[in-house]
Each structure stands twice: as structure tokens, then as C-alpha cells.
């Protein structure tokens, strides 16, 4: 169950060269939202748009293809996309909201739908939730340290960052590639990520990430009825090229392996938190467990 429920999985990439050119991998998220926007499946989407500082994303409500395109590519730091979820239905007046998020953000979204205590009119307006694969995230200052100190690249000069094959890579506009072992980045990880038990956005309508697929392609899970429906429509419209997941390398095996690694590691963290402190009688004093 580490991969969650899903109706279908495949390897895919966008057929739109304009989207692919600035995409992280297969351009799945941008293409899906662009298609959904065009078809009226969504009125807009909350995405990680460009912020004031280089590589510090700001969540935006994108209501045009241009805004979506401007938000292409992975930023390895926090974009609090959920902060706009109510605003999207209020100030922006959207009735059908799209949102992309990390697994934790999609969890937050589902909680907001099932327990919408402070989420007036939000639950019924979520039209498409796209989740991305995520091992962990970095605070902005952490990413800065990785890119500027370890990779020796100025944030402003970086045009792409990528994690894969055990390395963190920074690409510059002049074509240089600076790589460091992923191990060196671990200490900059956001602490809150270490209690996360979801790698592939189990609760999204559609989830996607590079892991499992060849370079330039993404692995895509269609999970819910909504997700399955939108995915089928997008395929029928010719938005994506696909390959059966069984036929690509490294395939689902790697996704399963990484998901298991993450969950096992973080379950240990949670177990450790239960025995973190010590009471006078010698028994354990626990840190708070969010899942109880």
C-alpha cells in the first residue's frame, strides 16, 4: 500500500513542446492544468509561481495558460499553496479550483474537505488536486546553502535544479552543471518532513513525479474517479504521449523502493518521538504524535 490506491499508472510526457521546454520532467502538472483550464474543468489553479527572490516561489492562483507556464519546473523549497485555498474561492471567485501540492499539502487539502471547520465553501469546489512525489523539502535558507555554498552557484544564475540518481544538481544559464551527493543536503531538510508517511501523494486525484520513468518522462498515477476522468479526457485530447509503466526503466520497482524507504525511515522517527523523553518513574515521555 505504499503507493496508495490508484486506477491506472503509466509513464507520460506532454506533447506540447512549449510546455516541455521549461518543464522539470514530462510537464505533466502544467499540461494537465492547461488542458483542464481550456476545457472548463477548472477555473484556475493554485501553483508555485515565481516570487520576489530567485527560486523562492510564491503560491499564485493561475487563471491563464501564461501564468501556468511561468510556474513550470520544480522549486526545492516551500510554497505554501494551501494558504490560497480559501482565497481562490473568495477573492478570485473560482467555483472549480485546481491545486498542485506535495503529499503533505494534499493531505491538508483532504482534511480541509472532510473537516472544513474554517474552510467555508471550499470542500465542494475542489475540481482537480494534482500531487507530486516528494521525499523531503528544504527551507529557503537551506536551499540557498545547498546551491550557493555547496554547489557554488548563485541563486540568480541557476536555471534548473534537480534531484536524481543520488545527486543534487544545479544547472546554470551558461550550461555548467554543479553536482553534489544528495547526502550532503540531508542536514538542510525541513524537520516537519521527517514525520511524513506519504511519498507519492496517495490522496491526490492524480499524482506524478520523475521517479520510475526515463529522463524527460514522468510517472503518473490516476487515483480517484475525478482523476481518472480528467486523465482519460486529457489522453483522448492528445495532451500526452504515454508508455506502459511495465515497459520503462526503472519502472514501478524504484517508486515502490523509494516510497518504502521514506515511510520506513519516517516511521522510525515517529517511534523515536514516542520515547523521546523520560519521566520520573523511568517511563517514556513522548513528543506529540499528529497521527493519534
Amino acid at each position: 500500500m505504499v503507493l496508495g490506491n490508484y486506477k491506472s499508472v503509466c509513464s507520460a510526457r506532454s506533447t506540447d513542446s512549449g510546455i516541455l521546454s521549461g518543464a522539470q520532467d514530462g510537464g505533466i502538472v502544467t499540461q494537465l492544468f492547461a488542458f483542464a483550464l481550456e476545457e472548463g474543468i477548472i477555473d484556475g489553479a493554485i501553483v508555485a509561481g515565481p516570487g520576489e527572490e530567485a527560486w523562492r516561489p510564491e503560491p499564485i492562483v493561475a487563471t491563464t495558460r501564461e501564468e501556468l507556464l511561468a510556474a513550470r519546473g520544480t522549486k526545492y523549497t516551500i510554497s505554501p499553496n494551501m494558504s490560497l485555498i480559501k482565497e481562490a474561492t473568495r477573492s478570485y471567485g473560482l467555483d472549480k479550483v485546481g491545486i498542485v501540492g506535495t503529499p503533505c499539502q494534499i493531505q491538508a487539502l483532504r482534511k480541509a474537505q472532510l473537516y472544513p471547520v474554517a474552510m467555508r465553501d471550499v470542500p465542494d469546489k475542489i475540481a482537480l488536486a494534482v500531487g507530486i512525489f516528494c521525499m523531503e523539502n528544504f527551507p529557503y535558507a537551506g536551499l540557498e546553502a545547498i546551491v550557493e555554498d555547496h554547489c557554488a552557484v548563485k541563486m540568480e544564475s541557476a536555471v534548473k535544479m534537480d534531484i536524481g540518481k543520488g545527486k543534487f544538481s544545479t544547472y546554470t544559464e551558461r550550461g555548467a552543471v554543479s553536482q553534489i551527493p544528495l547526502k550532503a543536503t540531508h542536514k538542510y531538510e525541513q524537520p516537519g518532513c521527517h514525520v511524513c508517511l506519504d511519498y507519492v501523494s496517495n490522496l491526490a486525484d492524480i499524482s506524478t513525479g520523475s521517479v520510475g520513468s526515463p529522463d524527460g518522462w514522468s510517472t503518473v498515477f490516476a487515483r480517484t474517479k475525478i482523476g481518472d476522468n480528467v486523465w482519460a479526457k486529457a489522453l483522448a485530447a492528445g495532451c500526452f504521449e504515454t508508455k506502459p509503466i511495465e515497459e520503462v526503466k526503472p519502472g514501478l520497482e524504484l517508486v515502490t523502493k523509494l516510497a518504502t524507504t521514506k515511510i520506513t525511515k519516517n516511521q522510525k522517527v515517529l517511534d523515536g518521538r514516542a520515547n523521546f523523553g523520560l519521566r520520573a518513574d523511568g517511563s517514556a515521555k513522548a513528543l506529540r504524535n499528529p497521527y493519534l
Binding site: P80, K86, K111, G192
Partner: protein, 290 residues
């Protein structure tokens, strides 16, 4: 699209709506083979009626709830009943003024007569804005001490926020109905759904934006999703470098941010079923799928 009039020869059969309605009925019968409605009362203490308005803002959903699931047996604004009657569920809005004898008497009476007491909204749960009262106001200057109902009686379920959303109240109504009148399976689901809200009722009667610092960030659990910022009714929370920054002078102590935070509680047994639960609630409310 304008609906075409049915031909005159068949006056009984109107086209579309009737058929759709029948479908829904059949569906609901399957899922809820139960006839007994539960009795619900709205008890109004020191609050602004905003929570009741939020309940009413379910619009036709309110009628559906009152038609099929719950009899409103007490509600100063909507029902002509003077004394608190026996009831299954009491939704209490507002905090209790210690200097108002009838409030104190009525909240005790509510506990005696209701099987389940729900603190509806932030004033009942945490005091909310009434926490800031210092008395001296016209025309009851001596009324200066307001307490969340949980400081006076035992409360079973918390539904914080100012006000709790219409959909949250709707979900609670459906779940409370399933818990009291559903099949065994439905009872189990409703129990699991309501558990975190029962736990909140045990957690205490104080809330503040500080909870995000104390119980989430300080505990190493915040991952910067921004849900708290979206849930704050007074926009006192801003996300700064991926963490909530709380304007504590603005905070009205409603508890919305902490309750909505995915790291305050997150019950996988319920969340993993989000799709089917949404379907159950939609079908209960007469909103079919495709």
C-alpha cells in the same frame, strides 16, 4: 437549458426532476435503512448567532437535514419552544457569562437533557472574542466573565472556528445521525470521523494562534503547507519563509488554525476514505454523482 414541458397527455410524469429525485431516494434508502430522526437543539449562549447563520447557510441542505435526519426541537430563533427539552444532540453556541444566572442554569440543564453536547463554534469551545471582555459595557456592566462551556460542563464534541463552516456543520449532522441511527458499519465510520473532534474537546478550553508555535512548530511538525493562513478568519497569519507568522494582537483565539492544521490531527483511517466519505455525505444531502 430550459426544460421542455411534458406533453399534456401525461400530466403526472414530469420529465427530469422526478426521476432524478426517485433515484436519490432509492440510493439513500440503500445507504440509510433507518427511519428515526435524531433530535437536535440549538442552545444560544453568549454568541453572535453567526454559528446558527452558518448552519442555515446550507440553504436547501438545511431543509434536507431537517426533513430526513434531524428534528430541530429547540432553537430560540427558529423554534417556538421555551424550555430546554430532552434531545439527542445539543449544539451550543456562545460562551457562558458567569454573572448571568440563567445562562449558567441553562448550560447545566443542557448537559442534563442532551445525550451529546457539541460546542458549536469558537466561543463555546474556547471563548473566542468573548475572552477579551472586561465588563463595564452598557447595559450590563457587571457581566465581565465569560467562559467556554467546557469550563462549566463536560463537552463531547468540539467544532471550533468563527464561525464553523456550513459544510463542517453539515458533515457533523450527517455523521451524528449515522452514529446514532446508522448500520454497524456506518456507526464505526462515524465514530472514527468524530473521534478527533472528541479529542479536541478533551484537549482543553484555551486556543490561540500560539498553538501553531507551541504544538506544531516547537514540536518539529510544521511543514509549511499554509493551511493555517487560509483558515484564519481575521487574516492574522502570514506565511513567511514557509512558516506561519502570527500577528498575535489580531488573533481572536478561535482555534481555527490549529484545528485545520494537518499536523494537529490526521487520522489515516478516515482520510484514506475521503472519496467514499464525500460520496456518502453528498448522497445523504441528496446530491447525486453524475
Amino acid at each position: 437549458m430550459p426544460v421542455r414541458e411534458a406533453p399534456v397527455e401525461k400530466p403526472d410524469l414530469k420529465p427530469h426532476d422526478v426521476i432524478v429525485e426517485k433515484k436519490v431516494e432509492e440510493e439513500s434508502k440503500e445507504e440509510k435503512p433507518v427511519v428515526n430522526k435524531i433530535s437536535v437543539g440549538h442552545v444560544h449562549m453568549s454568541g453572535c448567532t453567526g454559528c446558527l447563520v452558518s448552519f442555515a447557510d446550507n440553504y436547501e441542505g438545511l431543509f434536507k437535514i431537517l426533513d430526513d435526519y434531524a428534528d430541530l426541537v429547540y432553537c430560540l430563533t427558529l423554534v417556538d419552544v421555551r424550555h430546554i427539552p430532552e434531545m439527542d444532540v445539543a449544539l451550543v453556541e456562545g460562551s457562558i457569562c458567569l454573572q448571568d444566572k440563567s445562562s449558567v442554569k441553562e448550560i447545566r440543564e443542557t448537559r442534563e437533557k442532551a445525550k451529546v453536547v457539541v460546542a458549536l463554534g469558537a466561543c463555546a469551545c474556547y471563548g473566542n472574542i468573548t475572552r477579551f471582555c472586561r465588563g463595564g459595557q452598557w447595559n450590563q456592566p457587571q457581566q465581565e466573565s465569560y467562559l467556554p462551556i467546557g469550563d462549566i460542563i463536560d463537552v463531547d464534541i468540539y467544532l471550533p472556528a468563527c464561525p464553523p463552516s456550513s459544510q463542517a456543520i453539515r458533515n457533523i449532522c450527517v455523521m451524528a445521525y449515522l452514529l446514532l441511527q446508522g448500520t454497524d458499519e456506518q456507526k464505526k465510520l462515524a465514530g472514527a470521523y468524530l473521534k478527533p473532534l472528541m479529542d479536541l474537546a478533551k484537549r482543553g478550553t484555551e486556543a490561540c494562534g500560539c498553538d501553531l508555535m507551541v504544538d506544531v512548530i516547537n514540536q518539529g511538525l510544521c511543514m509549511g503547507c499554509g493551511t493555517c493562513a487560509a483558515s484564519c478568519p481575521v487574516r492574522a497569519i502570514e506565511m513567511v519563509y514557509g512558516k506561519p507568522q502570527i500577528d498575535r494582537d489580531m488573533c481572536i483565539k478561535c482555534g481555527a488554525c490549529y484545528t485545520q492544521c494537518p499536523r494537529s490531527f490526521f487520522n489515516f483511517d478516515v482520510m484514506n476514505q475521503f472519496e467514499s466519505i464525500t460520496e456518502i455525505i453528498n448522497s445523504a444531502m441528496g446530491k447525486g454523482g453524475e
